[in-house]
Symmetry: C2
Subunit: 274 residues, 2 copies
DNA sequence: ATAATAGTGTCTATCAGACATTATCTG
DNA sequence: CAGATAATGTCTGATAGACACTATTAT
């Protein structure tokens, strides 16, 4: 015996007569922060595309696109990642959903931000509505965030100010960015980058995110360089090696590290457990 | 000199002629998992409402509602929380955005899930499209998740199976729920509860979420009971007290703990730093 | 009075932080 | 050969885990 609602309709009847009403609906996009390392692991690289149309024409922005009805946001982000870099099956994680009214001057648009980590920078070029696409150096300290590409003579700088706010009785510190350069990022994309980096830094010590940023085979100086670059601080070599020793295994080979003054040393790979 | 796009339009002209196109857009809702503790801190309580219409008629669901154009999702969640419990200025945190196609049989709906923590259970009643609203006991172990209300004779049980999957080279364990009881939750709300609890458990040790679940003034046995109930495991008293000692301060008073066989002991409050 | 809880003391194992030492490689 | 990096040993301090002990309180 099927249940009926107050109007006496079965679920099937209800769904047939259902109409979505005239609630206003937002467009939903995903924006993807794609992070890789430069050749010697001293800097993070992020992929940006240059906008070819209003709004924020000529500004650099995170790659992104609309979520379609028959896919998850994760799939949309993976599709975007693949379109831009050709990569698939890489680390891709939901970061935060940004919903501030007015964040897109065209219309009501919310975006689900994703973080992708890749071990090798791919050649990229502008597509679709993008005039250009390229890898940028990313520096993130307590004082500022610098996104630059020397070749293209672009240097985007935001100064950061810590602001304390409360969630219930819990105290948080948040970075408030303020543009310092001529060049700027489109939309609220600085905030997306900040949130994604905060999350990456929080997780890299206890999850294995760093392993997504090195090659399949790596040396310990390389792996340590990745940790140090992402965290923005030096680590003690011995402590670092103790910490990661249970997650790595020697390949048996030796080679020269890609780190700045790297010399010949043992090569490792990620230890798959059980 | 204002920038013009390829059609020769200024930004102002562009925005005037812009139309959102016929991309299909989803409805966007927030669902809020509101967690409190029972009187003796031995169980978590969550607020559910009983659906009065299709789909999932007569099923219990998380309170939630549409995000409106002039507000953030956080504000929408706070509004929902206030409508249901009358509470404001409590802990409220974004958990995850759920976007699986078909998660709502009526239409394309994505939901931004929030977690709210409160220190005192409020009287609730059904409103709007809800026939009823009430607090449920929540038990969450590695094997199953049980949501029950004796008075209403409702007992919802999902068994949990751990599934391993990979994100890049990183290995994750996830719970896959399977309904075991007659009663069930609406939509994908079990998954929301699972995600929110996972996040709460991860954070409670290193952030101060537990302080949002006790009264302003509390005893250490009470605070420890909250940790143990949320984490689903016993903690050593001495280690626990060492761990939290820097975050609490004696009020000078003494009183009887609300824990099961609690006796008279010192009362504390949360230490606001600097 | 009894039994359980509240509150501390102590010991151990672990681990990050901090140097130091030796071996090895690059230029 | 010189001067770095690679790899490892050792010491210290902080801390979670694990017991044990005393004092206090509810019944």
């Amino acid at each position: 015996m099927e249940k009926r609602n107050k109007e006496g309709l079965t679920e099937k009847q209800f769904l047939e007569q259902y109409n979505q009403g005239d609630y206003k609906r937002p467009s939903v996009t995903t924006d993807v922060l794609i992070i890789g390392m430069n050749k010697d692991y001293t800097k993070m690289k992020i992929l940006l595309i240059k906008r070819g149309d209003h709004p924020f024409i000529d500004c650099w922005a995170l790659p992104g696109g609309f979520v379609e009805e028959n896919e998850t946001a994760h799939q949309a982000a993976a599709r975007e990642l693949k379109e831009e870099t050709g990569l698939k099956d890489v680390y891709l994680d939901q970061v935060y959903t940004f919903t501030k009214p007015g964040r897109d001057p065209r219309a009501w648009v919310i975006t689900i931000a994703y973080l992708a980590l890749i071990s090798e920078l791919q050649e990229v070029e502008g597509l679709d509505d993008a005039d250009d696409a390229d890898w940028f150096d990313l520096e993130f300290t307590d004082e500022e965030i610098i996104i630059s590409n020397e070749e293209k003579e672009v240097k985007i700088i935001y100064s950061l100010k810590k602001k304390i706010f409360y969630n219930g009785v819990i105290r948080y510190e948040n970075y408030i960015p303020a543009l310092k350069s001529q060049d700027s990022l489109a939309f609220d994309h600085v905030e997306i980058i900040i949130e994604a980096l905060k999350k990456l830094r929080k997780q890299i010590k206890y999850s294995g995110e760093a392993f997504c940023l090195v090659d399949e085979k790596f040396t310990l100086p390389e792996l340590q360089a990745v940790y140090e670059t992402v965290l923005g601080q030096k680590l003690y070599k011995k402590s670092f090696r103790d910490m990661i020793s249970e997650y790595v295994v020697e390949t048996g080979d030796e080679r020269t590290s890609r780190t700045p003054k790297g010399r010949r040393c043992k090569e490792y790979s990620f230890k798959m457990e059980e």
